[in-house]
């Protein structure tokens, strides 16, 4: 599990959300994003967009499955590097 800050000023709108889903689908594990009490299935674009994650948000990434560690690292790096 990793916590990261969303640096992208426009947050997870349509473009980065769909790129995130594509990245997550490379992994077998279930991947979850958490912000406070709200959680999203990171492989579902509707689930991510429903969270309306904005720039500056702190997001916890967790994963459950055979490649969970690799998934968390990859997704954390992806989200931190977003600049769109």
């Amino acid at each position: 599990m990793k916590e990261i800050k969303i640096n992208n000023p426009t947050g997870l709108h349509a473009r980065p959300a769909s790129q995130l889903v594509m990245e997550c689908k490379k992994f077998e594990s279930e991947i979850t994003l958490l912000r406070g009490e709200q959680s999203a299935n990171a492989k579902s674009i509707m689930s991510i967009m429903a969270m309306a994650i904005t720039g500056g948000d702190m997001i916890e990434i967790s994963a459950d499955g055979p490649d969970a560690d690799a998934a968390v690292d990859a997704i954390a790096s992806f989200l931190e590097a977003l600049e769109d």
Partner: protein, 158 residues
């Protein structure tokens, strides 16, 4: 009567505004054109009110009011996204008429946008209306052409 054995699983999405309905691959943004967000249609608007394409519930309204997520009564998860890269307007030129959790009927007003504001910022107003849980779709037919708001834009079978 044999009708009772026919399952009517044909659903419709209504045009959210007046304009030109086009297939989703015509949207000048690969995220939509390549169906990465979902499958559906797009409309080049010629009116400023964006109406609900389905009966359903509002799941999320983007804080910048340029996009709305809905779930239809038939289980379709839909995003109506007004314009391309309009998140960058940070809400300028958009007014919202609904809220998260609201129940809506097809044709209810969701948003209003000001085309001049989009134009002034160089934003294409083409509006994708996409079903994000596209795996439940058996088929989708886009009725391309000039429409009035609330005309049928797409028929779908599940």
């Amino acid at each position: 009567m044999l009708n009772i054995f026919k399952k009517n699983t044909e659903k419709k999405l209504l045009a959210p505004c007046d304009g030109q309905v086009v297939s989703i691959d015509k949207v000048p943004d690969p995220v939509f054109a390549q169906k990465m967000v979902g499958d559906g249609f797009a409309i080049i608007p010629s009116s400023n009110d964006i109406l609900s394409p389905v009966d359903g519930e509002i799941i999320q309204v983007f804080p910048t009011f340029h996009a709305i997520c809905l779930k239809s009564v038939d289980g379709l998860e839909i995003i109506v996204h007004v314009g391309i890269d309009t998140v960058e307007l940070k809400g300028e030129g958009f007014t919202c008429h609904t809220e998260v959790g609201a129940t809506v009927k097809a044709g209810d007003k969701l948003l209003t946008f000001t085309p001049e504001v989009l134009e002034a910022h160089g934003k294409n107003p083409i509006t994708p209306v996409v079903i994000t849980n596209q795996e439940i779709l058996k088929s989708i037919t886009v009725l391309s052409g000039t429409v009035a708001a609330k005309d049928v834009a797409v028929t779908i079978s599940l």
